[in-house]
């Protein structure tokens, strides 16, 4: 294994200072559940690691008006069990309960799950359906990046090497929205999804769809919204037939690869099946 330099800052200012001199050979290490796999398989071998395990000022789950802010170093298990999340964002709670195993959730952090840029992660799928905002900081200031445009490619995001994800912000009151999500795993429950889907639907008083999010994970180089499928639903009541059409559009937008969770063709078909089921469940009684 290649030797690397390890830094362990104790707070955000120290971390930002270290990142100010960072290049793309520097990686941040939070819970380690993503990056360590790449290191162990020797697919990644950064020259410098900045471990955040001693940093104490990047936590907290708070409510300001209708905006929930979650500190980047909050662990997935703590977020899922937090009463504020259960009350205001049950879809996020339910998604987190299905991430890998409790042992992984005890280590993995929200900032890591977002910044790692792995399209197989479950958490960004729910966050995108909730229009979450990634808060990134460098010594030059704070930038707020909507998660819908945050991912560029496999493991690649809009973050620059000197930026640190400090929090995720979820504005909005979702009480009247209808959600449905599904993590489909043909193998063990703890595996990555073959396809992950999260759907959000908003209706007017005549049951016509006024706004929607159809988000898919594990079936392309990034987690993504099927905007064409969302547009099809606008102003319409969700019928079996409409759900089928939207699901087909979403499935056509996927770009999966063959792996142990299925062939690309199978994953594309399953994307259609689960988008349709999620739409009907969210629209149902």
């Amino acid at each position: 294994m290649r030797d690397f330099q390890l830094d362990s800052p104790v707070d955000k200012p120290q971390t930002l200072q270290l990142l100010a001199a960072a290049d793309d050979d520097t990686r941040l290490l939070a819970g380690g559940t993503g990056l360590l796999n790449l290191l162990k398989q020797r697919l990644a071998s950064p020259g410098r690691l900045i471990s955040l395990h001693r940093v104490t000022d990047l936590g907290g789950i708070t409510l300001d008006g209708t905006t929930v802010t979650i500190g980047a170093l909050e662990r997935l298990i703590d977020i899922g069990e937090h009463p504020l999340i259960g009350e205001r964002l049950p879809v996020l709670r339910d998604t987190l309960a299905e991430v890998a195993s409790p042992r992984i959730r005890m280590m993995a952090t929200l900032g890591g799950a977002v910044a790692h840029g792995d399209p197989n992660q479950d958490t960004p799928v729910a966050l995108m359906a909730l229009d979450a905002i990634v808060v990134a900081e460098s010594r030059d200031g704070v930038t707020e990046l909507p998660i819908a445009g945050f991912y560029r490619d496999y493991y690649e995001t809009r973050l620059s090497p000197d930026q640190l994800v400090t929090a995720v912000r979820i504005p909005g009151d979702w009480h009247s929205s209808r959600f449905s999500h599904k993590k489909f795993t043909p193998g063990s429950r703890e595996d990555y999804a073959c396809v992950g889907v999260c759907v959000r639907l908003d209706f007017d008083d005549r049951n016509r769809c006024t706004d929607s999010r159809i988000v898919l994970g594990s079936v392309g180089p990034t987690v993504f919204r099927s905007r064409a499928a969302e547009e099809l639903l606008a102003g319409k009541a969700i019928t079996e037939n409409l759900a089928r059409q939207a699901a087909q559009i979403a499935a056509n937008e996927t770009d999966p690869v063959d792996d142990t969770r299925g062939s690309a063709d199978y994953k594309r078909r399953m994307a259609g099946v689960w988008v349709r089921r999620c739409l009907l469940e969210a629209a149902g009684p």
Binding site: D24, Q41, H116, Y154, V257, D258, T260
Partner: protein, 150 residues
């Protein structure tokens, strides 16, 4: 793993052919080529660095020109490379076919057949598959750019 793609390149066919048959020019249009040594007219050794977020794969190996069929505008390359650190590699056969669209435009069809070897890992394989698409797009953009700036 097979990859088939057609591209339109803003170059006359004979000019594109001579560019594609010149490994140095091809290397100049490819991101991540770190080294290129000429062994003989049809054999080259080199290193290719593939980057995706934190992932770094450095493949070292050789490229051989096995077909230079200028009459039919078909070129075939074979490559064989390994990343000793990741403990795996690939074998690839790349066929290029050139069809004249207009005096200044050529259709380039690329067929790539790749076999992965050794312990490149469950994680590595889908990454490389996706990366090939973006590398090819960048390569074509660079070819067009080279023509514009020439």
């Amino acid at each position: 793993m097979r990859f088939d793609q057609q591209y339109t390149v803003e170059q006359a066919r004979d000019l594109l052919w001579s560019t594609l048959m010149d490994v140095h020019k091809v290397a100049a249009c490819m991101q991540g080529v770190e080294e290129m040594i000429v062994v003989d007219d049809d054999r080259y050794e080199g290193t290719l660095m593939v980057k995706m977020g934190p992932v770094r794969l450095r493949f070292s190996g050789e490229v051989m020109v096995v077909t230079r069929d200028a009459d039919n505008w078909i070129g075939v390359l074979e490559a064989n490379a390994r990343d000793p650190k990741a403990g795996g590699g690939f074998k690839a056969s790349l066929e290029m076919r050139l069809v004249e669209l207009t005096a200044m435009q050529t259709e380039l069809t690329i067929t790539l057949d790749t076999t992965f070897l050794g312990r490149i890992g469950e994680l590595g394989r889908p990454l490389i598959k996706k990366k090939i698409n973006s590398m090819m797009d960048e390569f074509i953009a660079a070819l067009n750019e080279q023509y514009v700036t020439a």
